[in-house]
Symmetry: D4
């Protein structure tokens, strides 16, 4: 139990039956479970198996049990374009489920910088920021320059050609010159939110 949150399942490549089996054990022990990357079909089966459950089709998140707010502070999730929404929502719901207050700001891509700038003051209310962007992935650099908070950048697989299924924004985010950001795998909204929640956890313990 050492590393916390063992009640999370990676749904990709598991059948509804396999997920049900594992989830039942976890629910029994922890009273709750979070499953990522669940298709609508599998979700239908899972909903039948678990009473107090919830499914969100855009983020493909399935969960059992209500999240309770555990930590002071707030995780803010920003995303650049409409197609980055599934990843942003995965981050949002994960952080919330783990006990964080969350907030989403979508559609603030850098090609129309004014929308982002209109949130400038508001960004300062976040404790940690998860910044999701596809295409060339420039959003996290700009955001990191606007705040004194840790930024976790998530490249997405949204793009074509030279975008290389997300490798291009991934490498771009890693080589960005703004200090204070780190990066997770392509489309890994879950992973970014998980670390964001750990940061709030630390913040709540270190006083």
């Amino acid at each position: 139990e050492r590393t916390g949150y063992p009640e999370i399942i990676y749904g990709e490549g598991k059948t509804a039956e396999q997920i049900t089996l594992i989830a039942e054990k976890l629910v029994e022990r922890h009273g709750k479970v979070l499953v990522t990357r669940v298709s609508e079909e599998k979700a239908a089966d899972l909903k039948e198996a678990f009473a107090d459950s919830f499914y969100h089709s855009v983020s493909r998140i399935f969960s059992v049990g209500k999240p309770e707010k555990l930590y002071r502070g707030k995780v803010m999730v920003l995303s650049a374009g409409t197609s980055d929404l599934p990843v942003a929502e995965e981050a949002l719901l994960t952080a919330q489920w783990m006990g964080c207050e969350v907030e989403a700001i979508n559609d603030v891509g850098v090609a129309g910088i004014d929308r982002l700038l209109s949130y400038r003051e508001y960004l300062q209310t976040a404790s940690v920021l998860v910044v999701v962007a596809g295409m060339e992935g420039a959003l996290p650099s700009v955001v990191t320059g606007l705040v004194k908070r840790p930024v976790i950048a998530v490249p997405t697989s949204v793009g074509y050609g030279a975008h290389l299924e997300g490798l291009t924004p991934l490498l771009g985010m890693l080589t960005a010159c703004a200090s204070g950001m780190s990066v997770v795998n392509i489309d890994n909204g879950f992973g970014a939110a998980y670390q964001a929640a750990l940061i709030l956890k630390v913040a709540n313990e270190e006083k």
Copy 2:
């Protein structure tokens, strides 16, 4: 003579003697010559061979003959960081030599967006923009979103690790979501300026 500007030499990998030989013929015919990528050592030799000549060590540009202003309109060259200066200067001097009015705005990287934004109105005075950036190369996307002018993006080889000697900003610029920009090879300030000058040329003819 069809394609214009034949009096330009790519200096890399040519000896001072070879450059002198080619340049002499071009000067004879066109009264002027531009040589790119000339090291300080070669420049010393070239300066002896040509009377009315000029060498700029940061951009490594050597030229014979004075540029004359040929076109209405202005080429604006923006660059993100100090280390992008050599490429930005190569662009600046090339466009100027080809007959354009030029202007430079340096050190406007996106991690400190306010500096760039302070030039916002001023950017509108350009006819074409050459935008030079290393690291993740996010500057051209932001700039393209701020103006209704064609933007030519130049990635630079300044960076390390995931930057892949410039491949990362190159691919990022190609996959950027801002409309109105196109891209040239890594460190090719010359090529961007050349196209910028051609655009002013068209602009001066199409009336």
Copy 3:
């Protein structure tokens, strides 16, 4: 409204419903809209929703409102092979919709150079050239050498094996030795045409 042409939608990955919603607002405000990468299925739905609309299946362009000729000058779109047509047509219709006079020259791949050369004089009537090519992407280099106009090169994903889904012609175009060309993303006929139209726009303002 600063950056112009906000009434353009990237159709890929959006449902017909989502497109309809966004397009309705844009038509209301601007009287017209352009949607790229629209499949035949979605187009059928869109045609029902918009009265004065047009769909072109090869280029997958859907538009509402008639283009009006805004600028003097001409955008010429060249393409190498039959399979590059969808991208060339996307460029053609985009430039036209944005207010440019356009002209297409297809099937002028470099392996049969005579067809291209037969247009040699005619190429000089263009203000800007968009040159589309798959395979090894050699056409833009040759064309750039034949004209004194800016050339915007578009690599296509047409090819196999060492073609790497378009990466090979993309990199080839970027490293070409002809001066005066720049490059956009693989299959991005839209982006090339957009910049071409901006160039005509500048040309019409700078007098």
Copy 4:
């Protein structure tokens, strides 16, 4: 001043004179400065220019002004092999300079897991962990599994052949299955420490 710590200079590719110039202004304003990637030669010049200065040759860090402990909590820096030391030390000194209590555990590569395991309890005393590893970069996954704290992973360029100058551990860390870690660029000990310090900063404010 919004984003904090402006008094940091990236020394690579700047001459001792350039660094001195920038550093003088920063010292004047902030009373301190940190310069990363400073060679021994440049350091010699810098030491003459600044009285109260310090140079550490392994990490290539040069600084002016004493760090003061600003935050409760501790940044622990782990490294896998002897050759990862320069990067680990860069992280250590950066975090310390920014006001964090720091601690280093070196030589705990996964091929001899017992050394790492002997620190198992001790790892729990950290607030944030910076984990530095070259070769295949497996250390951060294992460490993340041992603690409930955020882990920032730093791949190094130490290795040969299939190691691809650090790309291999970089990609490996990004694709690791342990939840709670994020990644920075190859050899970017500075960047990891910077984010770690921001996390402590948040932790000290969120009470």
Copy 5:
């Protein structure tokens, strides 16, 4: 017959008819046959054609004839996660069919090192270890450090994004710092087991 075990067929890309034809000849001559990468559909056809046959759907192995234990010693197959099971099972059944005693330890990924460590003593009972892992592929390094036996590492295609369909763990395993391991192709459980069996064969001859 020189190289041994000619009675093995690579089933991928062969029709059930083609496999039946080749397998019939091999069974006639050797009394047994092993076919890898057989889909459930093909297996149904093959089962009708061969009386004394066996199909295992997870590993997609089809075989005719009973394995007999030929060698002293034991091949131990370890795998990191649930999704690595098909590859681990392919290895297990291949080694067994070739005459080895085999043993499987699954679900011992490095992010939860305690499960692996609980087998620490037991690992010493193996003669050769086949270690299967997807994601960042860190398991073989850790295992190699725990035993004085040859370890054959098998990267799997299980992962996403920076995982590059298995290239990332493949390169990671090749660059690992633990001595005593070598690597086979992505998902090649068969190849690892084949070499493991050859090692036992040598071990049984060299006395």
Copy 6:
């Protein structure tokens, strides 16, 4: 002796002493020897060791013994730019040394297509063509379209950035749409000439 021409040495990475030793044996047996990739320094030593020898510094070819014309037909070597000369010369001297009539046409890059076209009729006098090009490597496609002869394409490492040290023209040549060409390794003028000579050999035998 079956495969012919054993009297050829790859000079790269061998010391002058090693080359002398091998070359002496070959001269003894065959009366001649060809050594490729010989630096000026090594050549000086070799010239002392062998009486009837020849060194060409641009192509870095060293040879002993006079070539005799063995075959009817002609190998024509074309090259695109000045910097491709070393590779073109390596091809030329190799084919000549192997007994072919050779001819060189340099500086016929596709960006100035007229120079190439002025040789159009003359190209038809070749039996086989070796076409050398750096940058984007477009020359072989155009040439192959102009002749009914086999074309062997040689990409060179001349270029920068997206040129990837020759990988870009290499891949481009492989994916070219002109029929009748094949490709050898980057800078491998020797290999192309060797195959060209074999083709003339076949041509002289098949009558």
Copy 7:
């Protein structure tokens, strides 16, 4: 007509209708046509449209008109494994259709070198060899070492994992140390055969 054999169509990505249209014109003018990469479905349509036609489903070649033997000499096509057959057959039928005598030797992969060696003397009867291989693509090197004839190597997309869809054997063939071979694109049996036929053509003219 200069470059010969214009009556060849690349079938991939063209509809049966498009192919029929082009083919009809070619048949009218040349009395024959060859179409590569034709699926069974399209072939059914084409067979109805053309009387004297032929379709070969393994190689996906469709042709109209009988090949006539035009040249002395023989093109020998070797292939490594069963799965390389489609590419080998494409080469075989192309060369035959272009007027060459052809011969196929299949299943001579290097892992069982004896089968290849049993043809050793027979290989000498070829004028040109087309050598097709997937996996690591080692066959052409070995064959080139066995004959004094030009070898055209064709890598295939048959393989998995580190095989990178054919890039690995492609690069391997290009870097092979055997002199006398050149390489065409992945799966390009057609291109190899085309060049082989041109070589025989030269051989028949150069007497």
Copy 8:
């Protein structure tokens, strides 16, 4: 001490002083030490520090203490070309130092298959084979097909262009179709020999 042979040092990137320090402790405890990748300069210093020491400049191996033959069986090291010798020698000396009988067969590249075949019977006397090859790396496939023994393949960085500093033979060896081989990192003669010795060790224990 569990994993055996702790008395081995990777010399690359360590100073002579650092090596001396570590080696002294190891010699004290184990009576012997092996250091790989030691330059001639460092070796000179080391020889002064250790009495009973040995340095081999081709393989860059430095050792203290005499190897004693520990195991029955033999490690055979094959290499393709002269330039692969340093890696082959590193393997040879490592295996010998670890207690194995060793034997070297050099210069048996596949382009001249007869030399390899002349050792055909002799190869059968090996217990394990280490096969070293640069260029396209085809040798291990052929050798594996000739013996019933485990083969450990070592790609080398010898080559140019498409060879990609050893990546090409590395990937080729991994995708080879011969069963019974596995692969280690580029130039890692040490690692291959280490595993070979472990195999002999197992062979000597499993009786």
